[in-house]
């Protein structure tokens, strides 16, 4: 399993408790459009991801991340 696949698997697990509509998760799934998360949900989710990977996703970076694939890219980069 590549690093990226592993990251995506973990992201899916982390998204699950917040996935109230049961949306199928692909790299193209967007947090606002598809999952319809509000800012409070995003905040809780980001904190969970940060703790899972022991990274910091600054609010500046968060503003650029719209979908699962972009989040996986960011995590990959931040994990260095």
């Amino acid at each position: 399993m590549t690093d990226r696949t592993a990251i995506l698997d973990t992201l899916r697990t982390q998204i699950e408790p917040f996935n109230k509509k049961g949306v199928a998760i692909t790299e193209a799934t967007s947090f606002q459009g598809d999952l319809e998360w509000d800012s409070l949900t995003v905040m809780d989710f980001v904190a969970a991801i940060e703790d899972e990977f022991e990274i910091i996703i600054t609010m500046n970076m968060q503003a650029e991340i719209e979908n699962v694939g972009q989040l996986a890219d960011a995590v990959e980069k931040l994990k260095g």
Partner: protein, 422 residues
């Protein structure tokens, strides 16, 4: 411009259709629809209250009805203090109605300096900068103190002015879970060591009225080499020996533990304006770099004169401080006794937040209180934490025992009506 460049010699076969103007107002549709639905249920507009007369720090006339004010942040009741009013009146007569200019150019009058001197004395600080509002004090200080490549670390429940200060600046922004010392520590530990960092905290968080564990948070911030800013907007005048705020009440020292304190004139001081104070030797550098300080008109002379007088009186307002705490504790205990869910288990500040189920219940209850003659604030997401709907009470030192009793009685019947209590 006189150059028009090459012109085509004939008209295109089919003229391009004029672009359809995109209605930028369309983005307000959901908000307007929500508001219309609420209003059509027959309730009064919680965001359209007009005070026809204000008769004291604790009473006003709203739609012809004498109403007790319990949502004004007029904690120390300074708005009708005779010395404060006299100082404002004198300044209005001597210096005119406004300054017509920036603090940096023609907008600094005697009383702007006087207000800064009063603040320096109040806080025992070497530097004070007065801004035109508290909002601008946060906006300007945060956006200017943390630059590109540096970090601002803020509590998730921070006031909008703190968030906006972050947005306006060029720094990297990191958020930690509300009042969680452990979460702050963890996040600071993940940041690169080298860049400068500003941790932004509030003494009292105004939505629920809870206070921050500043002592522990500052300890963590200093361990990681950060500077600390504390917004004490909702604590000035009645926390700590000199009324300097929660940081003082928790035994922290300006210049050692806390680098910058932000405050406002619009709450305990009883007028309008904001400020930043510090003991840092290079503090004046902020004044010369801060856009929300430079590129706006300064406060009118009457405002800064009232502020200076009020700040000086707050230094020794021990009786008012005691009365405020007494009132706050009585109200908190009274509402708790009625069975309301409150923002804090104990009376931690001069804000008592009643937590309700949803917007409908909040507005029904708010209206019942208003009709009985009591004004409180309605607060809703996104201003509130965790999507809660609140009725927020802010207590004044000038509320009488009789008013507090009446307030509790009014809450008892409104709570039953709205189904918030049994």
């Amino acid at each position: 411009m006189t150059e028009t460049g090459l012109q085509s010699e004939k008209l295109p076969a089919e003229p391009a259709a004029a672009p359809v103007a995109h209605d930028l107002f369309a983005k307000f549709d959901p908000l307007l629809a929500e508001r219309e639905a609420l209003m059509s249920s027959g309730v009064r507009d919680p965001f359209g209250i007009v005070m026809e007369q204000v008769t004291s720090p604790t009473t006003a006339v709203i739609r012809g009805k004498e109403t007790i004010l319990l949502g004004t942040y007029n904690y120390m009741g300074m708005t009708f203090d005779p010395d404060v009013i006299a100082a404002g009146t004198r300044a209005l007569e001597q210096f005119g109605s406004g300054t017509n200019g920036s603090r940096m150019l023609n907008g600094t009058f005697r009383d702007h300096v006087e207000a800064e001197d009063a603040l320096k004395e109040f806080y025992g600080a070497s530097g004070a900068i007065v801004f035109s509002t508290g909002y601008q004090a946060n906006l300007g200080t945060i956006s200017t103190m943390a630059g590109r490549g540096e970090y601002v670390i803020l509590d998730a429940d921070s006031h909008a002015s703190i968030y906006d200060g972050c947005k306006m600046g060029d720094a990297e922004i990191v958020r930690f879970r509300h009042n969680s010392v452990e979460d702050l520590d963890k996040r600071l530990g993940r940041l690169p060591k080298e860049p400068g960092k500003l941790v932004v905290l509030e003494g009292v968080y105004s939505m629920l009225g809870d206070i921050a564990p500043l002592r522990e948070m500052v300890q963590v911030a200093k361990k990681h080499g950060c500077m600390v800013l504390v917004d004490e907007a909702h604590s000035m005048g009645f926390f700590g020996e000199h009324g300097r705020g929660v940081y003082e009440a928790q035994g922290l020292v300006l210049g050692e533990d806390v680098d910058l304190v932000i405050g406002t004139f619009s709450k305990s001081v009883g007028t309008v304006g904001g400020f930043c104070i510090s003991n840092h030797p290079k503090f004046e550098g902020l004044r010369f770099s801060c856009r929300p300080y430079i590129f706006t008109a300064s406060l009118p002379p009457s405002v800064v004169a009232t502020a200076a007088t009020s700040v000086r009186k707050l230094m020794t307002a021990h009786d008012k401080r005691a009365r405020l705490w007494d009132n706050a504790r009585r109200l908190h205990a009274g509402l708790k006794g009625l069975g309301f869910a409150l923002g804090t288990e104990t009376c931690d500040s001069a804000i008592v937040a009643v937590i309700l189920q949803d917007q409908a219940q909040a507005v029904v209850m708010w209206q019942a209180l208003l009709e009985a003659g009591l004004y409180v604030n309605v607060a809703r997401p996104p201003a509130t934490p965790s999507g809660t709907f609140l009725l927020r009470c802010s207590i004044c030192a000038e509320h009488t025992s009789d008013q507090i009793d009446r307030i509790i009685t009014m809450f008892a019947s409104a709570g039953r009506l709205a189904g918030a209590t049994k």
